[in-house]
């Protein structure tokens, strides 16, 4: 396997764009990424694309739609869906094509428009489908899972409502500086604590919104990357992990779990980051910028612990400092899901865009000084999680 670099990134604004199609968003991100790389569409030899789950059958071959719009070149296109790890899986697939020597330049694209309200897949009625059963019989909505885990955390570690609010406040300080974020706004503790209760103990401003958005990343062999840029960003690791037997987390969308856990909490995320650290030969103490999946304040606290930035239960102390930072690591410099909203199939690539800008020193008002190493970690719905480590 040879070394691979990121040479171009492109991101659309994150928000709600009812007038725009998923392909329109995808074309914008792709064009921006190619321009950023100084490459042409016809230079792309392999493409991995996130599927668009909420459209017609053609949404499942979004990559072909994108190629249609860009001009068909006959390249291999793979369309990928892997829950929260979808975009990271597309990145990993593109990486493998370059690393293995199959091609010199590959493109990973994620594009998504979120449905209104809760994620409910339309038109399925399979009585042995656990997702169908949970909706029909229990009515537990997705953020309800986070609320159940959050209350256990509060019971076990003494996490308070205030800690949950402080996580949002700290991340919003970054989001307020990100021109691509949907909520470019500084939230106060009082505002968060006075926002409507949604899934007790989580209030409205403690849960991320669902957004529309697209992101694209151009990968190239490190050797060839030097023809395009004098600051290639090296891919130190890109991993996907699934759950381990005995994981005690109440995994979305299941309705039962072992009482006594024999595997790590959120094992898919613990594993994907553990393996990424190992492959990259670095530890949390080396990370300058961390994009974690702050789908809710519970995620923010839990992921600091799962990714080993602190011990279990200690994340509460970190948010008490009022800044989204642990040691020298700046957490969610983009403003995270909390400021962008979640566009599930594109999220992992949006995180990678932020890391690249930070490592190049192009992050504008939110630039982290002297950023050398970045980690992007996704959440793990139904046991799928991805981690990416980039370095200068």
């Amino acid at each position: 396997m040879r070394e691979v670099a990121v040479i171009g990134v492109g991101l659309t604004p994150w928000g709600k764009f009812p007038e725009r199609s998923y392909l329109d968003l995808g074309v914008e991100a792709t064009t921006k990424a190619l321009d950023d790389a100084g490459a042409k569409w016809s230079d792309v030899q392999v493409m991995a694309t996130a599927i668009y789950l909420w459209g017609s059958l053609l949404g499942t071959v979004a990559g072909q739609g994108l190629a249609n719009a860009m001009g068909e070149t006959g390249i291999p296109i793979t369309n990928i869906y892997n829950m929260c790890a979808t975009a990271t899986s597309a990145f990993r697939s593109a990486y493998q094509s370059v690393a293995s020597g199959e091609c010199d330049m590959a493109l990973a694209v994620g594009l998504d428009k979120s449905p209104k309200g809760f994620y409910v897949y339309p038109g399925f009625e399979d009585k042995e489908d656990i997702d169908f059963i949970r909706w029909k019989m229990t009515g537990l909505v997705n953020p309800g899972y986070w609320a159940l885990e959050c209350r256990q955390r509060m019971d076990g570690y003494g996490t308070t409502e205030r800690h949950l609010a402080l996580a949002k406040v700290a991340v919003s300080k970054h989001g307020a500086l990100n021109p691509m974020a949907r909520y470019q706004k500084l939230f106060t503790e009082e505002e968060v604590l006075n926002s409507p209760m949604v899934v007790d103990p989580l209030r409205l401003y403690m849960i991320c919104a669902t957004s529309d958005g697209a992101a694209a990343v151009v990968l190239c062999s490190l050797e060839k990357a030097k023809q395009y840029t004098n600051k290639p960003i090296v891919v130190a690791a890109t991993t996907i992990a699934s759950s381990l037997y005995g994981d005690g987390t109440l995994r979305l969308p299941t309705i039962s779990t072992p009482a006594k856990a024999t595997a790590p909490y959120l094992s898919e995320s613990a594993e994907s980051s553990r393996i990424a650290y190992e492959k990259a030969g670095i530890g949390p103490e080396d990370v300058s910028v961390l994009e974690l999946p702050d789908n809710s304040s519970w995620h923010y606290l839990s992921y600091l612990e799962i990714l080993k930035f602190c011990r279990p239960g200690e994340a509460d102390r970190i948010v008490e400092t009022g800044v989204s930072k642990v040691g020298k690591t700046v957490v969610c410099p983009s403003g995270g899901c909390s400021s962008l909203g979640e566009a599930q199939s594109a999220q992992g690539l949006a995180m990678i865009c932020e890391l690249v800008w930070q490592l190049r020193g192009q992050a504008g008002a939110r630039q982290v000084k002297n950023a050398k190493v970045g980690l992007a970690q996704t959440y793990g719905m139904y046991g799928n999680s991805g981690a990416v480590i980039l370095k200068v």
Partner: protein, 139 residues
């Protein structure tokens, strides 16, 4: 007398004077899972070697959430019951199961309280039948 019909068959014993949730258990590693087709095994156990068991009914409340929202249409909760609460029961078998909470004021819910699994009406269908699910009820 109204007919009382499970919303989805096969998840609890019915009709029954003493209904229980139906779970599966791996004959090799003895892992218990619910529902019975949502299999959980230690790696390399044979997925076919599953026996059906009935879960016990009493346990502790391992977590709960009160949801201040209208659920998606698949969940036919009468609007008068919003906000609704969902909990997790920890059973003596070593399994936690999610269920709608019933039979108490939401402000009285406490972690680790004793709860039991009951079969109750969720809604009345167009024919006037009671559509049943399992719920968790504080004891």
């Amino acid at each position: 007398m109204k007919n009382r019909i499970p919303i989805i068959e096969g998840l609890f014993t019915w009709p029954s004077e003493d209904p229980h949730l139906i779970a599966g258990r791996c004959k090799t590693c003895h892992t218990i899972f619910f529902p019975k087709f949502c299999q959980q095994h230690k790696p390399d156990c044979h997925p076919k070697t599953v026996e059906e068991i009935q879960l016990s009914k009493k346990g502790k409340l391992a977590s709960f959430t009160i949801m201040h929202l209208s659920p998606p249409p698949l969940f036919k909760l009468p609007p008068s019951q919003i906000p609704y609460a969902v909990g997790v029961i920890e059973l003596p078998e070593g399994l936690k199961v999610v269920g709608l909470l019933t039979g108490c004021k939401w402000e009285d819910l406490k972690m680790h309280m004793d709860v039991e699994i009951v079969i109750e009406k969720l809604y009345e269908d167009e024919q006037g039948n009671e559509a049943l699910t399992w719920k968790l009820k504080p004891i």
